[in-house]
């Protein structure tokens, strides 16, 4: 990368370092300034998206609590030594009367093309999935990405009993745990179902041992 220009004067090393140092300092300052302006906006957007998703999959709860997943169970405080922003968590929604309506749970696993990230609502008492929303996917547009766009597929998850099983559309036996898969996108559909089942396998014991406030 270093090409010598003809007739380059012999520049003292301190001058080289000083130039880069000053440049670095000015660069850092500029970035910090813009970051200060942008950060609150980015954060509020992120929070709004998350809140929208939780509202969507839990059926508009009046409020929700954040619970962290630790080895000992669910807790209001993040596990020690782990940054709160990156700790695994679920959201417990309450209705206007203060009764818990269910958990909103995020999960991510590889799908057909790449990782699928979704959020779903779950009520441990009845074992029912309350709703599902795909947050991020890179599946094939027009086929696999129907898992996000196709309203009838998304509606299949409302009230489905866990553990879920995927069946070809119209071929099911009417079982409460059955979800009709998208024709032409069975692998992506199956991935969504598997993501929910795997996540519930892991979290179900924690739900059973957690006593939610306001629960009868």
């Amino acid at each position: 990368m270093t090409t010598e220009a003809p007739g380059a004067r012999d520049v003292p090393s301190w001058r080289l370092l000083a130039t880069l140092g000053v440049a670095g300092a000015v660069a850092g300052l500029l970035v910090v300034l813009v970051q200060g302006w942008a950060e609150p906006r980015i954060e509020s957007h992120r929070a709004a998206v998350l809140q929208g998703a939780i509202m969507n999959v839990l059926g508009e709860p009046a409020r929700y609590d954040t619970l962290y997943v630790t080895d000992a169970g669910l807790s209001r405080r993040p596990p020690p030594g782990i940054d709160a922003g990156s700790a695994d968590r679920v959201y417990l929604g309450y209705d206007a009367a203060g009764h818990p309506v269910g958990y909103a749970i995020t999960a991510a696993e590889p799908g057909f093309q790449d990782v699928i990230r979704l959020i779903f609502g779950y009520e441990p008492g009845s074992g029912e999935v309350l709703g599902m929303q795909v947050l991020e996917n890179k599946e094939t547009p027009g086929l696999g990405n129907k898992i996000e766009k196709d309203a009838s597929f998304v509606a299949e998850f409302d009230g489905a009993r866990a553990p879920l099983t995927g069946v070809k559309a119209g071929a099911g036996a009417g079982d409460p745990g059955e979800v009709d898969m998208i024709t032409g996108a069975t692998i992506s559909s199956r991935a969504v179902i598997a993501i929910i089942n795997h996540r519930l396998d892991r979290l179900e014991p924690l739900f059973r041992s957690y006593v939610a406030e306001g629960a009868p």
């Binding site: 990368m1 660069a27 942008a38 957007h45 086929l143």
Partner: protein, 218 residues
């Protein structure tokens, strides 16, 4: 050293005749990656334009102060700063588009067009001329992106800027918005340009670039 260029030449050169993408074949990564919709092309074009203009002006302003041996590192630092700023602003103002463009906003840093212009032009010419050159190249990049984006979105989604144009019966040519579609579209445009060049017949090779610009930076 070739004859000095006029202000008008500096401005217009990059837009079509020496278009950074279609003629010089630089900056291909973002051109292929983000042109699956016109909106994304527009956003990427604007972001790159901002970075190119800002860094050209800054590089030209400090060219006497920066020692020769560290100039590449200094330019990269300047470009990276502008890109970080553009990234933050896009994330704050249009978060959906920011998500769609993803890592490619940050990859503007290594867009060969920008470093190429600094090295070949902005580091040797006065601020005003560097600004004109940046506007021309940035404009040319935008032209290429919009051309690709229009073609790909029209065929691949049947819409332009999200507005469906063909009615419900249209079966979109999905491959156009997928990676092969990017390659084939750009290839098609280059074939078209090659064909028109062939039609015009052999031309005397007149280079209007100031010295040093013609080096193709990979």
């Amino acid at each position: 050293m070739s004859a000095p260029t006029t202000k008008r030449e500096d401005l217009l050169r990059g837009v079509w005749r020496e278009n950074p993408v279609l003629v010089q074949l630089l900056g291909l990564c973002p051109t292929l990656a983000v042109t699956n919709t016109v909106a994304n092309s527009l956003a990427m074009g604007l972001a790159t334009f901002f970075v190119l203009l800002g860094s050209s002006i800054l590089v030209s302003s400090v060219k006497r102060v920066v020692p020769h041996q560290v100039r590449i590192s200094a330019y990269i630092l300047i470009i990276a700063t502008f890109v970080t700023m553009a990234d933050l602003v896009l994330a704050a103002v249009v978060p959906e588009i920011h998500k769609a463009l993803g890592a490619f906003i940050a990859l503007i840093v290594v867009n060969c067009i920008i470093l190429g212009r600094q090295e070949a032009f902005a580091s040797k010419r006065p601020v005003g001329r560097s600004a004109l050159d940046a506007i021309g190249s940035g404009g040319g990049f935008m032209v290429a992106l919009l051309l690709m984006g229009t073609f790909r979105e029209l065929l691949g989604s049947g819409s332009l800027l999200g507005v469906p144009l063909f009615g419900r019966g249209y079966e979109p040519w999905v491959v156009m918005i997928l990676p092969p579609g990017g390659f084939l579209t750009l290839g098609g445009i280059l074939l078209l340009l090659g064909w028109s060049r062939q039609r015009r017949g052999p031309q005397p090779r007149v280079r209007h670039w100031p010295h040093g610009v013609a080096t193709r930076r990979a």
